[in-house]
């Protein structure tokens, strides 16, 4: 491959500042804004529902009212799951980018989502009556498989996992795994079930998904906060981190496990939602600086907001049909990816 490697370059000096004040206001104001977007998400949809009805459905639930049922059984779990998944994907992206010092590292590019979809196809083909929990476990295994292949490709090659090589390896792994998923789905006649995950969306989410996702997200979130400081050190480079007495391998293993936990759970419920894990960490770093103790929680909140908003938009593009939310996040995310690609020339 031609071109120079940008992997060894140190992060730009001018960026090494931390802005706790901005971060704190994102944490507080962002949470409020997230709540607001969730309310809007609950309010807007195919069925016309008044704000007062939401309140009533919570405090004086009337099981015979369709509006109340829609709100309680469809829209509220949907808004919660969207927020959790957006947060999980954004956190995973932050951890991956910080750990690998690779600006393009993110769940969808590293083959995590493609791997999870592939395993899901196998599970649906061989064990069609799997429970939601079993499917989630398959999702973890697949996420691990996809990431594993991309990492192996990157670490075996001599120049290491440069941004370009990562993007190419991710593209190739995604192409192979999704081709295999398609072949499986054609042969076992489960194309419709598999395409649900492939398109990416939270439209048929129920409370059971909230119950499955929330504990996993919480565990992942707590571990992510615990290792956040180590990731900041790791982001200075392996040698520096080791020089500062850090057990880099241990931190990397824990971080990778957290990423698999968060994305595996997210993908098993919502399918391939791209670009959140790529875009949000960059925006967050731009806003709050280089300390991952701030970056990780802030990106979780911003990721939650982005997915809730994207999900609301996806319902408004072509009502009453739903546009897969993955396409909305792609259209928001691609211009940003192109911006990063153009920056590549001066070294990321």
């Amino acid at each position: 491959m031609t071109g120079h490697s940008t992997d060894e370059e140190t992060p730009q000096r001018s960026n090494i500042v931390s802005r706790p004040l901005v971060a704190t206001s994102i944490l507080i104001g962002g949470l409020g804004f997230l709540f607001l977007t969730m309310c809007l998400s609950i309010l807007y949809g195919a069925a016309d529902i008044q704000f007062r009805t939401i309140w009533e459905s919570l405090y004086s639930y009337d099981p015979s009212s369709t509006a109340h049922q829609i709100i309680r059984n469809l829209r509220i779990p949907r808004a919660i799951v969207a927020a959790l998944i957006g947060a999980a994907l954004a956190m995973s992206g932050s951890i991956m980018q910080g750990m690998t010092r690779n600006p393009l590292a993110s769940p969808s590019i590293m083959g995590v989502t493609a791997g999870a979809t592939f395993m899901m196809a196998i599970a649906l083909a061989l064990f069609p009556h799997s429970s939601n929990l079993m499917l989630m476990l398959w999702g973890f295994v697949g996420a691990g498989l996809g990431t594993g292949i991309v990492f192996v490709v990157g670490s075996i090659s001599k120049t290491g996992l440069t941004p370009v090589k990562l993007a190419l390896a991710g593209t190739a792994v995604t192409a192979i795994l999704s081709s295999l998923s398609t072949a499986i789905s054609i042969h076992f006649d489960i194309a419709k079930d598999v395409s649900f995950w492939y398109a990416g969306g939270v439209s048929s989410v129920q409370w059971i998904h909230v119950q499955l996702l929330a504990p996993v997200a919480l565990i992942g979130f707590v571990i992510a906060i615990i290792v956040a400081g180590s990731i900041t050190v790791l982001n200075l480079g392996d040698d520096v981190a080791r020089g500062l007495g850090q057990q880099t391998l241990l931190v990397k293993i824990i971080s990778t496990l957290v990423v698999l936990l968060l994305t595996g759970a997210a993908v098993s419920i919502s399918g391939t939602i791209g670009f959140i894990g790529l875009v949000i960490p960059h925006i967050t770093r731009f806003l709050v600086g280089v300390n991952y103790r701030w970056i990780i929680p802030c990106s979780a909140i911003l990721g939650g907001i982005l997915l809730v908003v994207a999900d609301t938009i996806s319902r408004m593009i072509n009502p009453p049909f739903e546009t897969p939310v993955g396409t909305v996040t792609a259209i928001i995310g691609v211009p940003f990816f192109l911006y990063l690609a153009r920056r590549e020339g001066r070294g990321l």
């Binding site: 071109g3 192996v152 090589k165 295999l180 396409t327 259209i331 192109l338 020339g345």
Partner: protein, 335 residues
């Protein structure tokens, strides 16, 4: 002269391999026809059923596979040399997806009006739309990655981004279609040549006959461009002019092939590599050998796809992705 002999040996071996694969492939399928029956049928002495299966279903499909394989491989070989990047491929950098998006737009907006004009006409208009889409994608990639010249790394990254964008647009429009058009578009996008008849061959043939020989004719320019812009300028080449002409040939070939065969990726990436390994450096040999190898790979992949999980067929695009993607990952690990 030794290299020349080697090239001829490789070329003849490839042609023989193609003929053998064709015979095996003609023979295999739900209705089995033995090689001798194939010969008899080709000579006009076969049973009516055999003639129908061979001439209406299997032969046009194989000819299309040969044409698309050759076209995609030549397109990839040109792209790789022009961009100085051995990992360039019309599928990876979004040229296929651009063509795909325009075809989806065409099915969405014009399908009905064209059918009223006469059904077969759409077979000939489709390649034009696909070509338009691949040109738009190519121009977008070129313009966005331009910053004091086009750096190959930037080009690939921008291409991957453009690819995702078109993929998202495709899904949005596909979901607005009625179920029939949706299925048509889906089958088409996976890279499938199962519904081929002779009208598709006639639609694609002019493009291949025009642009593949034209590429062979331009082999010398590719050699000089491959040396790098400065050297090429020193040798008196109009670098930008030649580059855009060659890019146009590559994009036109990819666009026409995608229009007929759908989103078949990785041929343009893998084949030129193998060709370069086998017959080495000059494009006068790389291009024709790529064309033969591409044709062989696609006929093989289609035969596998038709028979591996019979009676259900795997679209050829899937088989190529798995074979080609695997080889691509191997290349990445070695680079």
């Amino acid at each position: 002269m030794k290299r020349r002999t080697k090239t001829w040996i490789v070329a003849i071996t490839l042609i023989l391999a193609i003929i053998v694969t064709l015979l095996i492939s003609l023979n295999m399928g739900v209705i089995r026809i033995t090689p001798s029956q194939v010969f008899q049928t080709l000579l006009g002495n076969g049973s009516e059923q055999n003639a129908l299966v061979l001439f209406q279903f299997r032969l046009p499909r194989m000819v299309i596979a040969l044409l698309i394989g050759a076209g995609m491989a030549v397109s990839g070989a040109i792209l790789q040399s022009v961009t100085h990047n051995e990992l360039a491929d019309p599928g990876i950098i979004g040229i296929n997806a651009g063509a795909g998006f325009f075809v989806v737009l065409y099915i969405y907006y014009f399908q009905d009006s064209i059918v009223q004009l006469g059904g077969t006409l759409s077979v000939y208009i489709l390649p034009l739309f696909a070509l338009g889409g691949s040109l738009v994608a190519a121009i977008l990639i070129y313009v966005i990655s331009w910053k004091n010249g086009v750096n190959p790394i930037r080009l690939i990254l921008v291409g991957i981004g453009i690819n995702s964008m078109f993929a998202a647009l495709i899904i949005i429009f596909q979901l607005k279609m009625d179920p029939d058009d949706f299925t048509r578009a889906t089958v088409w996008l996976t890279g499938d040549i199962s519904g081929t008849d002779w009208s598709y061959v006639l639609a694609l043939l002019p493009w291949i006959l025009l642009f593949v020989p034209f590429a062979f004719y331009k082999a010398k320019s590719l050699d000089t461009l491959h040396l790098g812009d400065d050297v090429a300028k020193g040798l008196g080449t109009r670098v930008e002019g030649e580059r855009s002409l060659l890019l146009f040939i590559a994009v036109a070939l990819a666009g026409a092939c995608v229009a007929v065969g759908g989103g078949i990726a990785f041929i343009g990436l893998v084949i030129p590599h193998l060709a370069r390994k086998l017959v080495g450096a000059t494009h006068q040999t790389i291009l024709p050998i790529s064309a033969l190898m591409g044709a062989l790979l696609l006929v093989l992949a289609d035969t596998i796809g038709r028979n591996l999980l019979a009676p259900s067929e795997i679209p050829v695009g899937i088989v190529v992705s798995v074979i080609g993607g695997g080889y691509f990952i191997y290349l990445l690990m070695k680079s």
